[in-house]
């Protein structure tokens, strides 16, 4: 019985993929891809698979595997899914190929905005952007007569009011989980105050009034959060929103759709999106913009590269976007930005910086992710925390050879 069911399901899957197989061409060259495993990648790789002979790997460990797999000769994968940060090791090691000729031949549907150019050469094709921006409970804010906050001071004022009114358990939510998430929160806040984290010789420059201001702002925010904020990742914050436990959070754009998912959310239609708040009045939004896109390996034959690129273009076509409009802020033509995309768009328009990925930034992000918690828990004061983070960064950077 169960086997019958399974067989049936398998047959259905085959049938449905046959029915959907509206790829413009039939791919005969075996193509493999490796990428992160979130919804948008699932949609894109499913669309790529329609062309046949495509094996997509949505791997949680892709950060560890991708650079090594692309460095192998021949490369174990033809297509890679990257973001600002994960592009860096591939660029550094020179394991991805420039795409200008392929874009010229097969990229007629791409917009110029999608082409990631390094020194004039197209190295990657972006498909979506993601950023942390303000999500708020419209009903609570309008009940209490609070205007949508545009700076973090206003966020704090709003939080105080909400707390006083006692409508939700905790006014604020935040992706403060130690490690990458917390590092990202600091980076966001810091770029709300300052322009750069490094001097020209790769030495760190975060131990200054901007760094202290960023840390202190983060700490003030945590006072209005669930005390378990150091283990709360985006899924947790999303659940807090869905269960009506928080009113305001700076959350990833890719999470916006979940607020209106009726099977999970108790606050359907009540959460609205806005630009990320500025760290100081008149400043730019304290958030960084990320993009996700595809790259093609260098250590493969030109024939494979062409097939891989064509397949990737099928994955990034209008049809895919129309079918999956709301799961991401797509850069692909055919995308209709809904209400949910407003936050991400406003954040970008208000001038948030693109996440400045580099080898140094990678090290700094790790040092921040592990170090900032000590200030939030009260184990160290702001100066010591920043000095320790800088010291940790310098040790790592010396080890990597970035600082002599």
């Amino acid at each position: 019985m169960i086997f019958k069911k399974l067989a049936l399901a398998g047959a259905m899957a085959l049938l449905s993929s046959a029915a959907y197989a509206d790829c413009a061409f039939e791919n005969t060259v075996p193509v493999k891809s490796i990428s992160a495993g979130f919804e948008a990648w699932k949609a894109v790789t499913d669309a790529m698979a329609e062309c046949g002979n495509v094996e997509a790997e949505l791997d949680q460990e892709f950060r560890k595997k991708q650079p090594a797999a692309f460095a192998a000769n021949p490369s174990l994968y033809q297509i890679g899914g990257v973001a600002n940060g994960t592009l860096v090791p591939l660029l550094n090691e020179g394991t991805i190929r420039p795409l200008d000729d392929l874009v010229a031949a097969h990229g007629q549907n791409l917009t110029p905005n999608q082409l990631i150019k390094i020194d004039g050469e197209v190295m990657a094709v972006a498909m979506m952007v993601n950023t942390q921006h303000l999500m708020y409970r419209d009903d609570i804010l309008s009940d209490l007569g609070i205007a949508v906050p545009t700076t973090y001071d206003e966020v704090l004022a709003a939080a105080a009011k909400i707390k006083e009114a006692g409508v939700v358990e905790y006014p604020l939510g935040g992706t403060f989980k130690t490690g990458w998430n917390l590092g990202e929160e600091f980076v966001n806040m810091y770029f709300g105050f300052a322009d750069s984290m490094f001097a020209d010789d790769s030495m760190p420059t975060i131990n200054n009034e901007n760094g202290v201001a960023a840390l202190e702002m983060l700490k003030k925010l945590t006072e209005y959060m669930d005390p378990e904020y150091l283990v709360s990742d985006s899924t947790y914050v999303q659940q807090q929103f869905q269960q009506g436990k928080i009113a305001i959070a700076n959350l990833w754009a890719s999470r916006a759709g979940a607020m209106n998912d009726e099977s999970e959310s108790q606050v359907v239609g009540k959460v609205k999106m806005a630009s990320a708040p500025a760290a100081k009045a008149g400043g730019r939004p304290a958030s960084t913009i990320w993009w996700d896109g595809v790259v093609i390996a260098k250590n493969i034959t030109d024939e494979e590269a062409e097939a891989a690129f064509k397949v990737a273009m099928e994955g990034l076509d209008e049809e895919m976007v129309t079918a999956n409009n709301d799961i991401a802020v797509w850069l692909i033509p055919g995308y209709v930005p809904g209400d949910l995309a407003k936050g991400a768009a406003d954040t970008a328009i208000n001038g948030a910086v693109s996440y400045p990925a580099s080898s140094q930034m990678g090290l700094m992000h790790t040092a921040l992710g592990n170090g900032v918690a000590d200030f939030l828990t009260g184990a160290k004061d702001a100066q010591t925390t920043l000095a320790d983070i800088e010291a940790e960064y310098i040790t790592a950077a010396k080890e990597a050879g970035l600082i002599q």
Binding site: M1, I2, L6, A36, D59, A68, Q242, S263, E264, Q266
Partner: protein, 385 residues
């Protein structure tokens, strides 16, 4: 007689002993019981903070999925008879149909077949029949406890978890078989050689046992990915890329597990009197023949116990499999870890819970079947070293 009487416990002690056991069993089983309950509810219920809501699942019930009184009565009766069958009928059948002497093989096949039959019966046959009857019964047929198997079907059918299951089976079978083959040989050699070399081998193995695995595993990754390049000068074009290959992972898991395996098997061999192999040697057997034809036949309890530990290690491994296998060959445990790390929704999480329960269900069966083996195997002297 009088001694036996004094051995008997006073009532107070008995009572507190039983209370202690009851509390322990509750603590031991509750977390697992709870994730099982969660896996049958819709997300809102599964993560509710009121335990009663999790158990009765009002949202799940409101969605029209649940068990009526009839379902529960029939279900409990069915479970009772299944348990009876497993205890009374299965051992006999296994004994009857097992290939001569290899009763453990019979148990594995028997337990698998029995498990599949139970799943088919409980989830395939029963629901439609009861559904029809419930429709006729009216109020008695109304669901009173929310319960849905949608997450299981999502996991097993939509996400093709059966592929991970098959991969897990492949890896664990490989690990158990090779681990035991290599391990029994080494264990026997170590037990029968009193030399200092043997002793130092054991001590080094012990230190290897204590190594943090992440150090080793992270070292494998670049080598495995580039193995085709490394091996090309030796093997020519047939040089394989080890990354992603189940057999490479089997080799790694076997090696990591060797220290424990040889220690354990060595103690078993030590408990087998040396007179036995000496007699065989006098009859003209070589060491190997004595090992194969005289010692192995009396070693089965030890082999089964050690095999179980190898099985657990391979089946439960996360670190090695998640790094060294690609998606096509992924086993179950890293596959479930994937549910948590990706941009999860609450539904994903409940599906992950369902997947987790699916992973531990075979382990339940395993303990049920081999429980006696574990205890008697250990009693037979696994741990005297």
């Amino acid at each position: 007689m009088s001694a036996a009487k004094t051995m008997r416990q006073p009532f107070g002690l008995q009572l507190s002993a039983n209370a202690f056991l009851a509390i322990w069993c509750l603590i031991a089983a509750f977390p697992l019981f709870w994730i099982m309950v969660m896996s049958f509810k819709v997300p809102v219920d599964a993560f509710a903070s009121n335990p009663l809501e999790v158990v009765f699942g009002p949202e799940t019930r409101a969605a029209g999925k649940g068990l009526s009184i009839l379902d529960i009565v029939v279900g409990i009766a069915a479970l009772f008879y299944i348990a009876r069958l497993a205890v009374n009928w299965l051992p006999g059948m296994v004994a009857r149909f097992s290939p001569g002497g290899q009763i453990w093989a019979g148990w594995i096949i028997g337990a698998l077949a029995f498990g599949i039959a139970v799943v088919v019966f409980l989830f395939g046959l029963l629901p439609p029949v009861l559904g029809a009857v419930n429709g006729v019964l009216g109020p008695l047929g109304q669901p009173i406890i929310g319960l849905t198997t949608e997450h299981y079907s999502a996991v097993w059918v939509e996400n093709a978890f059966y592929r991970n299951f098959l991969n897990s089976m492949l890896v664990t079978t490989g690990v158990v078989v090779i681990s035991l083959t290599v391990g029994t040989l080494a264990g026997y050699g170590l037990a029968r050689s009193g030399s200092d070399l043997a002793f130092w081998l054991l001590i080094i193995a012990l230190i290897f046992r204590a190594l943090p695995h992440s150090v080793l595993v992270a070292g494998y990754l670049p080598v495995f990915i580039n193995s085709a390049e490394f091996l090309r000068p030796i093997l020519g074009d047939a040089a394989p890329t080890l990354y992603g290959q189940p057999y490479a992972v089997i080799a790694v898991l076997v090696s990591i597990n060797q220290p424990f395996t040889i220690w354990m098997l060595r103690s078993f061999f030590q408990n087998i009197p040396t007179e036995l192999d000496e007699a065989a040697r006098v009859d003209g057997c070589t060491h190997f023949q004595a090992f194969r034809w005289v010692i192995m036949p009396v070693m089965w309890p030890g082999v089964i116990t050690t095999g179980l530990f190898s099985f657990l290690l391979a089946y439960n491994d996360l670190l090695v499999t998640s790094l060294l296998l690609d998606a096509q060959n992924q086993t179950m445990v890293p596959a479930i870890a994937g549910y948590f790390n990706r941009e999860t929704t609450t539904t994903d999480q409940v599906e992950a819970v369902a997947a987790a329960v699916s992973i531990i269900a075979p382990l339940f069966l395993l303990v049920m079947v081999f429980q006696r083996q574990i205890v008697s195997g250990l009693t037979a002297g696994a741990v005297k070293g």
